[in-house]
């Protein structure tokens, strides 16, 4: 196979960047060392500092509550009507922690190792080790808050194994772990709101970042009810706004999750790292038609007992129960005999896509494969299958009106999580001093692929423990803030830009709805920058996106006014940013001519069709610097050094 060229003219290469905040020394001591080196703000002076936190999910809620507990004044924003609704709430499976309560050989070191390896060696060792260290404190913290984790009859916490790791380190609260953890953070935040330490701004969406003298000093935000656009000032800004999976239109993200905050920050100077690293989850309910607005995930635990298959013959439209055994292709078991149906997410997803591309997909539009429990029901009995998966079966039946006890489920992969995000250093600070990014909004801990039950862990680690320590240090080193008000040129410029954009959207007066554009860009991204990517496809997308962008401004129609609750305007404003972010994602995917984790380049595969990493060329995080809309961005490489976990090629055959 010929190696594709990596020389493109779509971008320029800038100076490499280094993580200047990461301490040296043994990896296990780095976090302690960093905390000791950090300067502290006198408790009496903390009231004088305001920190803006955008987003109120696991990371944002935890950060807001903790900063307020420490004595800072916190201004917290979320677009939802309440901080209790952030999409962290939808996480089902659980949260990893290296407690080793099972005495099964788990340790901080092992969680660190699993995460670096699971991320296909594209994450930073220092960060991942810190995450593994902090994981144990998170469980203590959440239990103290009254999070009702599952327990055993002895009264101690129960754990399960998850995502193919060999230890049982996942703590859970039935299938609603995210909900329970989020409500824990929400309640901690509520306590601080009542105490007057946090001013909560619900139904308020960030539109831009205010940068004064090179430092983040506030945000521009729109009150979604009154439509008023206001500047808020602070000494530091924290973005906890989640991932950008909604670029694909259909994803498991919440409908209103969006990339505006991170993209606006990127335009203001924050580098965006590894935007092409997106995770496609293999077990989602397939779409039923063009009306589909979002995809629903089902826990991947289903793959423990369900068998995935597709008809051997293309275009076989018989009902599944009429397809005889010998005409079924249990393709995962066939291709990966040792792991079978339990191969990692990216491999299972890609295999399903290949089957459907061959015309062997089932269900409406041929976009699905079967997940069959007939054998499990024969082996375990219906009652046991129901005890284990009953709630998932119910959910499936509610959505599809098919009973999975009788008919095999249909599943198809869907966009689920974005590993990429704003580039941050060890302190979670972006390239704009005073601007921090935490949780899914940053890029730091999962490399090219996230392991199951690790997103909750990272969000809470960042929010409760890491960020409060590093923000403290930043404020201590930059003590004399103030002096920025609405009359500052940087503020008036940001306000005017945001208002101008809304005005332009309202004035466009075209003949297409914002959703139709979102749908169009989403389909393009799914086809060209989805489960598998080719140079040809990415080039096609890069050609197409500027045209869609141009057409958007020409033909979009946004009814109503700006000074009211206008959900169409909110949507259109988010799409503007998707149309730019999509381009960067494709460019990043194009330049990374290797396959790794969730990023599969067809040109870079092993002879048996597996992802082939190219460490000599691509063992770095790609941090992109914005120049102008549609103009070539600048690539800054952060070289990844692996001192403890040595890169190996994954194999699951």
């Amino acid at each position: 196979m010929s190696q594709p060229s990596t020389e493109y003219t779509d971008y320029t290469t800038g100076a490499p960047i280094a993580d200047t905040a990461a301490p040296s020394g043994p990896v296990a001591e780095r976090w302690d060392r960093r905390r000791f080196q950090a300067k502290l703000v006198n408790p009496a002076n903390r009231r004088r500092h305001t920190v803006i936190v955008v987003g109120a999910g696991l990371a944002g809620g935890a950060a807001g509550a903790t900063l307020a507990e420490q004595g800072y004044r916190v201004e917290q924003f979320c677009y939802q009507d309440s901080p209790r609704r952030a999409h962290s709430i939808a996480a089902q499976g659980g949260i990893n922690a290296a407690k080793n309560y099972r005495n099964d050989g788990d340790s901080v070191r092992r969680l660190f190792y699993d995460t670096v390896k699971g991320g296909d060696f594209r994450a930073r060792e220092s960060n991942v080790h810190r995450l593994a260290q902090i994981s144990v404190d998170i469980i203590d913290q959440c239990v103290a808050q009254g999070v009702p984790f599952a327990r055993e009859y002895g009264g101690l916490l129960d754990t399960r194994s998850f995502g193919g790791v060999q230890v049982s380190r996942t703590f859970y609260a039935r299938g609603q772990t995210g909900q329970q953890l989020l409500l824990g953070a929400y309640q901690a935040l509520s306590r601080q709101i009542a105490a007057g330490n946090v001013t909560m701004h619900p139904r308020t969406e960030m539109l831009d970042l205010i940068v004064v003298d090179g430092r983040a000093r506030g945000i521009v935000a729109r009150d979604l009810v009154s439509g008023t656009v206001t500047a808020y000032h602070a000494d530091a800004v924290v973005l906890a706004t989640g991932g950008y999976g909604n670029v694909f239109y259909l994803s498991t993200n919440a409908m209103n999750s969006n990339a505006t905050a991170v993209w606006r920050a990127h335009r203001r100077g924050a580098y965006f790292a590894n935007p092409c690293f997106t995770q496609i989850h293999p077990t989602c309910i397939p779409r039923t038609g063009d009306h589909q607005s979002k995809l629903t995930l089902m826990s991947e635990s289903l793959r423990n007992d369900g068998r995935i298959w597709a008809p051997k013959a293309p275009g076989d439209t018989r009902p599944p129960n009429e397809i005889p055994e010998e005409q079924r292709d249990y393709y995962l078991e066939r291709v990966y005999p040792s792991f079978g149906n339990l191969v990692p997410r990216d491999i299972a997803s890609r295999a399903a896509k290949n089957v459907c591309d061959e015309g062997r997909g089932v269900g409406p539009g041929g976009q699905g494969v079967y997940l069959d429990f007939a054998d499990a029901i024969r082996r375990m009995g219906r009652a046991n299958v129901s005890a284990k998966y009953g709630n998932l079966f119910e959910m499936y039946e509610r959505i599809t009106a098919e009973n999975p006890y009788d008919v095999p489920m249909r599943i198809y992969p869907a966009v689920h999580y974005t590993m990429g995000g704003l580039w941050v250093d060890y302190d979670l600070q972006t390239t704009v001093p005073g601007l921090f990014a935490i949780g899914e909004a940053n890029f730091s801990d999962h490399g090219a692929n996230r392991l199951g039950a690790s997103a909750l862990m990272q969000g809470l680690a960042d929010g409760y423990f890491v960020l409060p320590a590093t923000v403290n240090d930043y404020l201590a080193r930059n003590p004399h803030h103030g002096g920025v008000d609405d009359s500052h040129p940087a503020v008036t410029e940001a306000l005017a830009a945001a208002e101008d954009r809304l005005r332009r959207l309202l004035a466009a007066g075209g003949d297409r709805t914002p959703d139709s554009f979102h749908c169009e860009i989403g389909e393009l991204m799914w086809d060209c920058c989805g489960m598998s990517r080719t140079e040809e496809g990415l080039r096609k997308a890069l050609d197409r996106i500027p045209l869609i962008r141009e057409e958007f401004w020409r033909r979009v129609r946004v009814p109503g006014a700006g000074e009211e609750l206008n959900q169409t305007l909110e949507k259109a404003n988010r799409i503007v940013d998707y149309l730019e972010l999509a381009e960067l994602m494709c460019l990043d995917a194009l330049h990374r001519a290797e396959s790794c984790g969730g990023h599969f380049r067809e040109e870079s595969q092993t002879p048996d069709g597996e992802a082939a990493r190219r460490d000599e060329e691509f063992s770095y995080a790609a941090a992109w610097e914005f120049t102008a809309t549609g103009a070539a961005p600048v690539l800054h490489r952060e070289d990844l050094v692996f001192e403890y976990v040595h890169p190996t090629q994954r194999s699951y055959a």
Partner: protein
Amino acid sequence: MVLATRTRTGRTARTHGRPQARPPSVARLFWRSTLGKKTVMAASGLIMLAYLTAHVMGNLKVFFGPEEFNAYGHWLREMGAPVLHREWGLWLVRILLLAAVAAHAVSACQLSRRDIRARPTAYAHKRPRASYATRTMRWGGFILGLFIVWHLLDLTTLTVNENAQPGRPYENVVATFSTWYGNVIYITAMLALGLHIRHGFHSAAQTLGVGGAARDRALRAAADLLALALTAGFIAVPVAVLTGVVS
């Protein structure tokens, strides 16, 4: 801003989070709270229910003839003797009952006003909600209030009873139920009473925190039984007069 979370100015912030200058007294806290008022309703309701249970037993003496019934009426005035002066016992009961009725009515009024204020706009799409007994609590209570007034004027003060003879309750009862309106008023009120007790008893138990999933069925059964027994017991008297069993 319409949706701003009121952090520093809301009523919430003042009542908690920091030590208060002067916490409200328990009695004040109790009476001001919907839960406190509900508790008052439950307790006063149970007092009246206990009274009605005694009342219905006394009524049933009517089947044993005028002597026994009138003697019972006489005893009510001697209740508590010789410790208590004549009629003191009766008056104590009357005061307690009056207090219960007043407390029940005042809480009911205040709670109802509050409930109506809490749901100022009705749904355009109407559909029947809740059980019949639940929906008729307010009107049922009002009917019972009016009935009590009539009942007192009829058989206690004898003001509206045309053929009243003081000291002859048996004859007075027969006289009341010999008129059509006496029967209509009484039987309607007793049916309302049954429905009121059916929901009220169960409700009172819940308000006082008695119940939970397991005991709930037993409580409902008890409420049904009580309602049925009291209604049947009270209605037995006019039916007996109507059919000539008692005359």
